[in-house]
Point group: C2
Chain length 568, copies 2
């Protein structure tokens, strides 16, 4: 057989057959194909794709006029409003990198972000202007004035009080619409020269150390945007409700998916069950994404707020924590079709999905929910996913039991952490991205999270998965939200401690009896050593994206002192 150690012909790239992948092109296409279709709806503000493309070019042009270019960072501090969506196109169209900032961070943390990213422009929603100002003051003081004052743009929102806008304008901020006017709506933007160029920067919550800046590139954003559509079977023209914050990993890249599908984005300044049901009933919503805690709120909404039955099947994608089977079951009964996904900011948002199998259709609901609560299989755009023994870096057996670290590999893994070689070295060790999540691989190849390594409770030398204990407790009829952490224990070293929020209307007057009842329930469903020895009632501390802040609960549990031997 004639063998040559070269390709069949030398046919190089040329301008006609090679273009850097970028999701920005989806916007140009949407404006060409469906110029009159709604791109964004925010209360009484409605834009078409024709308008959105012009506005994003204006933003790019205005930023360029003010010096933004390749290497610049533009920070946006805003909820899910049109300007936030526009920044996902307008900022990278100028060559700059978008840093969408979590609006629930405190000024101290935002100051760290602004300094770390060297933000040259800050676009801020009018209500968050004082927060941005405070952060700026901190960074300016800290650097003794060396931090170059950024260009301040305030985004007006008719849903807010006029006062906060007035305040920002008095401080010299330029109003967003006025700023757009300085730009050319037909600005000749260019795709990036290299698809590896950075498109966004997003900071991890940094519960234990300084936040890390996750840098994503155009190539990955393009691939993730398409993969979202393929994985979820989203059709052209989908109507998407922005329950998931766009500052959370660029809305899991759905910002760009919607442009690829020429779909419509429904903005939500505030995520409440009432707002969600109302958008479904009145605005044709077909899809939304939300953390399990948001779904919990929706499914437990008071009757007056829930508009049921749903006018159509509504597809829900959830991630961020393993949703308890009871929640998946309840959602399904209301007519929501829940796709359970999993991923991290470092993987462009969800990059695994618990793909539904037809053979599950005939199983009992609890069994379905149990299977669907797993993290599943890779997204189409993720080339590698495994659970490995971190000692020898070999895959664990597919036995559903052996715990290892969940690792990722492929084109939807971040470029790296900004200015953090040490973190990058650890994160990319041995050719995998290390998630820090612990899990197992089932015989059917699906992975399942058992815990974050730091969330594992070690009691009498045995590992207890806090997630599994939570999943059992969620089945208790009085429990709305629960989080289980380790509490020091005189006899066992650690034992599970449950923090519980009750469902609305539940009688919380006799907490001791309730705690006893929950423990009794636990003993009937799981091994005795898994059952929490302490049950604490009250609201749970949460991150901006609805993740329960276990590190705070761990501190609280520690402060409670160890469980006494006598309590055994």
């Amino acid at each position: 057989m004639g063998v040559v150690e070269r390709d069949i012909d030398d046919l190089p790239k040329n301008p006609a057959n090679y273009t850097a992948l970028t999701p920005l092109g989806f916007l140009e296409r949407a404006a060409l194909v469906h110029p009159t279709r709604n791109s964004l709806i925010h209360g009484s503000v409605v834009y078409t794709w024709h308008q959105t493309y012009r506005r994003c070019r204006q933003l790019a042009s205005a930023l360029t006029n003010r010096g933004a270019t390749f290497g610049t960072t533009v920070a946006v501090i805003a909820p899910n409003i049109p300007a936030m969506y526009e920044s996902h196109f307008g900022v990278p169209m100028s060559g700059a990198v978008l840093n969408a900032v979590n609006i629930r961070l405190n000024a101290q943390t935002i100051a760290f972000l602004l300094g770390h990213s060297q933000a040259a422009v800050i676009m801020v929603d009018q209500d968050f202007y004082p927060l941005a100002e405070e952060a700026l003051k901190i960074i300016t003081d800290k650097t003794k004035g060396k931090f170059k004052p950024p260009l301040m743009i305030v985004i007006a929102d008719e849903n807010c009080d006029q006062k906060s806008l007035q305040y920002a304008l008095e401080r010299g901020a330029i109003e967003y619409e006025k700023f757009l006017e300085t730009g050319d709506p037909e600005f000749a933007w260019k795709p990036p020269e290299d698809e590896w160029h950075s498109i966004t920067l997003g900071y991890t919550s940094g519960t234990t150390a300084s936040p890390k800046g996750v840098v994503l590139h155009h190539r990955g954003a393009y691939l993730m945007a398409l993969s979202n559509a393929v994985i979820w079977g989203m059709k052209e023209g989908a109507v998407y409700l922005w329950t998931l914050p766009m500052f959370h990993c660029n809305g899991w890249c759905f910002t760009w998916t919607l442009a690829a599908l020429c779909g419509t984005s429904i903005c939500l300044r505030q995520v409440t069950a009432k707002n969600v049901y109302s958008a479904i009933a009145n605005l044709g919503v077909t899809h939304f994404c939300a953390a399990p805690v948001v779904l919990n709120t929706i499914v437990n909404a008071p009757k007056a707020e829930a508009i049921l039955p749903l006018p159509r099947v509504v597809h829900v994608m959830t991630a961020g924590a393993a949703p308890p089977p009871s929640l998946l079951s309840a959602m399904s009964q209301q007519g929501f079709r829940v796709a359970h996904t999993y991923g991290l900011s470092e993987t462009y948002g969800p990059s695994t999905i618990c793909a539904w199998k037809p053979e599950w259709d005939s199983l009992p609901p609890e069994e379905q929910a149990r299977l669907n609560a797993r993290q599943g299989v890779p997204y189409v755009a993720l080339e590698g996913l495994n659970v490995i023994n971190t000692q020898n870096m070999k895959p664990v057996p597919s036995d559903g039991k052996t715990v290892g670290e969940i690792v990722f590999r492929g084109n939807v893994v971040m470029k790296g952490y900004l200015k953090n070689p040490k973190a990058n070295e650890e994160a990319f060790a041995d050719g995998w991205f290390h998630s820090g999540d612990l899990g197992v691989k089932h015989p059917d190849g699906y992975i399942e999270i058992k815990d974050r390594s730091k969330d594992i409770i070690i009691s009498g030398g045995e590992n207890i998965s806090s997630v599994e204990v939570e999943n059992v407790l969620y089945q208790h009829p009085a429990i709305f939200d629960v989080s289980v952490v380790a509490r020091p224990d005189e006899r066992w070293g650690e034992s599970p401690c449950a923090f519980v929020t009750l469902k609305p209307g539940m009688d919380a007057s006799n907490q001791n009896r309730l705690a006893e009842d929950i423990m009794k329930f636990g003993r009937s469903k799981m091994p005795a050593y898994w059952v929490p020895k302490s049950v604490i009632f009250g609201p749970l501390p949460k991150t901006a994206t609805g993740k329960i802040q276990k590190h705070l609960l761990r501190v609280k549990a520690k402060e409670m002192g160890p469980v006494k031997k006598s309590r055994l």
Copy 2:
């Protein structure tokens, strides 16, 4: 504003965050996610994704054992049978390039292809063995034995006569299943080192010169596969009927799309209306692709063969020639939803689509069909599409009138023609891929083909689009198929000459009267100089993919001699 002429950080590619794009990974994923779902159905032969992945690895392994590697070409001469599908994965998994050969070519042309591509392996369906043998003899004789004898693999099909298999085996060919047995079903295939590496080679029909070898790469195949799914709203688990030959531009990349969707492929050895309706009725078909001529056959099927109403909406993608509005209308009335697309082998198959607009829903059917008969807008994966004036290379105005050449740019444009620098230079002039098709750009941005440059009829100095004349004539109730070409004309230089096939059951006894009737019909619908001065009845010569071979008709029209002045 702090400006640096570099990216926000230097974060290089590493094995965890960069993988060469390749559609081969879709197969591995399908086998993981839906191992027990049917991948291929061919009569009584049914494979699951688990089996298909094993069989493709066996093929790759067996080829590797026989020396196939990077740089090798493997030719496959077969209709739409499972081995043809498997070769789309197994061949490139070995590093080799797949050349799927049009089975309707003659031995002379196939001999040219084999010699040009230096095929080292020929996989051939049992019924086509004599054809392959004849081609081999021609190339061997021509090169005086210098053409290295390829490895001959014969593919048995239980739907064929045992004799042709016997014949091949006697000539020393190894049977495909036997060949697979020499390979390892768990072969550790590797993705290509570079996504620019060639994956397939396909020859253009070469109506006027030697066929040109279109080389495609892994990157484009991956992007096109996903783009197909997004553009067409195909869901995970789609059931796809193989009416379109896989040898035609790798089945427009749907071979790989089906793996990305974990869908099911229904093979069809012979495309007849009866087979199509039967597969729709019995095998759950949701999608198929076909040239307009095939749709014509389906929609005009005898009542005994058509199983109507359809059990579900069936999505049809058509391309290859502009479908006459009357055909689009008829399909729609039967419940088929027709997506009209356009592209070339050089653009990985269809890369534009006439995207449907909601505002068309309320238009009269003829108007809908007229709008939907246009070639439309770019695919999601195609970055550039335009109609340009070939004199100054500038875009023509969007007036629906000014004719220019349709040009493409982006990641789903071929690497180039194999061993053909001159053709590449012409094809890629000025940063565009030049299609050779003439068209206009409408005010809504949709493009429409007016003709291949060589198909334009120039009559009295005026350009006549043969396609537009055909579109009018298709509305005539007696016409099944029509093709219009230039015939020499004493007075006007050229004038339109129509070749017509009548619908089944039409009385063709009085051809003169019919011709008069058709011309009269034409005069009522279009400018007088467009109306064919000659109408000829009989079957139309077609390519393997159902394209009418206009060059043969042009020859025929020329042989008829010029239209006399007196006939004016």
